[in-house]
Symmetry: D5
Subunit: 166 residues, 10 copies
């Protein structure tokens, strides 16, 4: 019914860039990575494929929210044309997570996700508890992906999947 | 690889109940519905199947976060043994959404979802913008579901899917 | 191009009701008025026409955000079948405005209006200053209305107009 | 009855300028655009006419709240005398919306809009639900404009119209 | 030029009443006093004259923000027809000030005063320091009054005077 | 009874200065104006007299809270010895009000004014409503002044008058 | 020079009472103790002398901020005429401290103490560190008292002493 | 019983220094004063003795919380070896108090003082009201000191005295 | 060196009780359990031993922060003399965790734990990352205990151990 | 059963580094220390052993949360190859604690510790009070350590011990 498609090729106009003035708490690696991405006109889909991770995981490295492995650093360095030593130094520590979004989010797209938690939080908890018993879904042993579906009427739907260990 | 299973039969011990003292801002319908659910020992899976909606949507009606249609009211009344007139009166208005979770969430399970938004918010936005262009994923023309997967090692994984119109 | 329509007739299922447990800071008149409105199955459009005010102004009286004149009280008493003395007593004071919405709003529909202020606030200010010079748009010498438009494709559009003295 | 007028010609004294020290979270494009606007002594009315958008939409691009299309960038570059490459680079990303107004707003003019949401929020919701049923007015598929009316007594009125898809 | 006038006679419709549900943190005396005031249809001007205090001071006693002297209690008891023992008991303690307005104020009229502090705070400080040297204006050894002026064009002006010991 | 006096002559020691590190959100004009004022050793009383405004209004221009007219700019330029072009450029926009005081105020003198609003807010509202009916005192069509009184015992009293259109 | 005096005899008018509606988070013992104190017209000075503690410590027991020993309970029961069993039951637990003042304090008298911490906090720290080295003044192994001094001009001074183990 | 002692001689290791990165809102004078103090290895006790003020008052000048008199400036200039003109310029304005401690305090030592206000606030108020009647202890006509006591067991006690006009 | 001891026998005076007025958001089971505990004069040590859990886990069940198993309910019912059906009903749901402590904690003892997180948070993270690599210590697959040590000088030390899966 | 192990040798990739842009409120010493640690590729375990303190205490010095003794400074200078005079100057003051973690913590690992306080706070208090009587566990006379345990199944467990004087 649905077809899944995406736009892996970015024209210069739609590259994600980072306004560092707007993100003062991101690590130095973020500026380095986003600048190279803009120069190379690469999408996160292409970057994710290159490093063998989902697009969201690739973007999370860019925003300093996920740890890059030595292999990630190697591949990012090659793909993006960043000096390996520089990238290794900037990505060598452990991520100081949680710094990219000021809560509650002001950005409308991110606010919609926040709103889902606000409105459906207890409904999720009730269903999860009934399915799994008492416990919790990990946000760390966790993977997530974004897909695009187009229905028969030509409408696009964004599908976000969260998968966490119980 | 994964098998999807769930526990639709509740023993009395694991019924979701509502501590009304803990949820002062829920509508009157919530107490009515949860009390009947506990008496009937029904799971949200059973309730969702009966009214033809996902479990999460069923739970959202219980928490006053979704509008029940006249058909929903009819079926809930039958299944839960609640007087139709009472339920119709209590569910007749438009939901005053957003009242069930105090933000930031204190409940650890719900906090994990909040944390995902906090950590991955801009990564989602970046990937969504690249896939769809400028715009937003609706949190209203929106459906969501929870599934349980068990991997080869016997570990359980909770899978939450969010699907919103772009 | 657009046709403006509305649904003045409420079936019982879609009457606006007031969950008083969810609105602890509203005045006593709110419960009285909403209860009678539900009993009479009247829409705000009908009520507004009866008292000669816009629907929004009528609703604002119900939520304790606008002062009812003696004539308003007289007409509301007749239309809604509320004892005049009771309504006069409950509506006799001056409104203690601002108590109905806890900011930031949790309700998604109201949040969207809040988001417009958050995103467009300075754009409005810049345009207003250029059109009117330094000053301010009154939120007191102010009227507002809501209209419904349906476009050629059958999509509905909500149109909110704010008109304030400079 | 009313005459609609505006002042499209700015004298130097009343140009909107941007105090960048007061808006640290705006993107780099904002400084570029406002500086050129001041130099060219252009009003948002003139700019909006040139790019074929409403004044408010034009101002929203200046404040980083709306995405400029390649055509917008082309026309803004010409009108404002900004190097096209620079403007393209600064406006190429996706807007990080919501950064211009710190909520609750301190600016009196913007606060009045906030106050309208605070006071009339539930009245709008009640009327909209009765007119449209359950749902929401989009703040994204959305347009807005500002008009100036002068009544018979010579008083000026600011009229803001919000139009969002349901 | 200006004439100072006021309306000391209240018709029932415009008596200030206290919605106790809206003011849960006021002392018991507030309900007693406001109820008697409504019954007696007295204005604060009349009450202030009777007890020999300004209107604002009289209202401050009603809201639990000022200490009533034994003489005040005696006179209020007589004027308002409240049993002296009851009033003495309810007013015998020391006021627990600051409980009537939740800050920032949501009430538009009170917000305007808050806005004046927000906008003019440092201007007042600068002028006061230049006039008086380093120090502070007492908010305790302090009196205040409200007057009404009508200008030649028939416009009303509210004049609030604050007088505090340096 | 009272004599009104003030100290228009500043010795260098008691000039109001602006610690720009403490006021990062003030416009560039503030630094320019305060620096010149310190150099010229002028009081706000002298400045106000020169531009024909109250001292508080003069100070409000310095803090970026009031719009300077072309005449104000001309006179301030002359009196303070600031290059007219620079001052015109820095003061040409519309004020972005509300940025000078972080609420709640930490400064004790400004806090006392805040405390008056907190304690007397509803008393003012009650008295104003009884004198004027429903409505609001404008904080925009508004003037204010500060006076110094010395009583028979030699005590100084600060008298602040707020005058706003109803 | 100074004479220290106090008023140990309360007339009924100046007894401290507890408005329980204003202190919803105090324990049940608070209402019991304050009611008996009002009936007996006893001051905290008299109560403190009877139980052999400072006035402030006695008041702290009343507000649920200090643990009453069995001897305290015995003596309070006798002095205040409260049934020993009731008082023992209400005071038997461990205090849940910190519930009496909502921070920042709205009460002006308590705010002044808060303001001292706000203004002098680092000055105290600097002096304490220089006198004692690195460390902290205990707020638990701690005693405090209030004294009244009258100077030669008849002015009263409140002297609060804080003494904490380093 | 107790002996009062202090350490007026600082070795370089225990000089109070100011991490200006941690105190961005202090005035320029703070950096000047602390730097000179570190160079001169002077304690606040020595500085206080030199300018004839308590140690805490001396420290308050360093943190920009108290006004330095011309004599203070003269003596500080001499003792600390700071150019008089520079110090006069930096200390010439009126203090913008309240900027040194972000409330609630994060620093444990300062938090203990805050905690005392939180726990004992109403106990102080109750005792003060009984001793002095209705009113307030000034935080402006106010002096404070810190003393060190050593008890028979060799334990050190910090004694802070607050003395304010009623 | 250290001896570990505790006081398992409670005299009535030191039983932990629950002031339900102070904990409005706890579930109904909390009142039931604490009341029975006070009647039976049992310590958490005795209760923990009876149900085969640590004292802290036992207390966590009382505060509604941990799920009681059917066996726990059986044993608690016996030990505390509570009707099994009542306890089963009150404890049958899934805990709504996080409701017992309002953050930041006002209670000094709990605040000290909060302060440890505030001060040592990044130190813990740094050491944990170095010992375990990137990841997280679970607060759910987690156990904790409290021990009492007395050193050679007779000082008591509280030892809290947190043990969480990585 | 458990074996305790750790990784004292850091490869360059897993050194803890400090993103100073993310920690604007840390003292200057933090940047100096972390930079040298990265250069020397030393773990906190090695550093702690060298200075004779626990790893956590060593890390706390790096984050400016603990006072370094002259011996600590000497040893850190040697081990890390930092000029002694520079380190002495940067570490000479008294720590301004509490600046490293913004509460509530956004970092997931630190949040888990915060969550433990939120969920178990009253359980700890109840058990501690029963074991020790009324009082408090010091967060200053306090030591803490982190250990790593590996269970029979190969799972790693983080064990954090807090030990504070009562």
């Amino acid at each position: 019914m649905y077809t899944t498609s995406s736009r892996s090729k970015l024209d210069g106009y739609e590259t994600n860039t980072l306004q560092t003035s707007q993100h003062p708490y991101l690590p130095a690696s973020s500026a380095t990575l986003f600048q190279a991405k803009a120069t190379q006109k690469l999408s996160f889909e292409q970057i994710g494929q290159h490093i063998g991770r989902s697009e969201v995981a690739a973007a999370a490295i860019f925003y300093g929210q996920a740890k890059a492995s030595p292999e990630d650093i190697q591949k990012l360095s090659e793909l993006l044309g960043i000096h390996h030593g520089l990238l290794e130094e900037q990505l060598s520590g452990f991520p100081d997570r949680g710094r990219s979004v000021e809560m509650p989010p002001k950005e409308p797209l991110i606010y919609r996700l926040y709103e889902i938690v606000q409105n459906y939080g207890y409904a999720y908890k009730a269903v999860l508890n009934e399915k799994f018993g008492d416990g919790i879904m990990s946000a760390i042993s966790f993977s997530t992906k974004v897909e695009k579906e187009t229905d028969a009427d030509g409408n696009n739907w964004a599908v976000i999947t969260l998968r966490g260990k119980w």
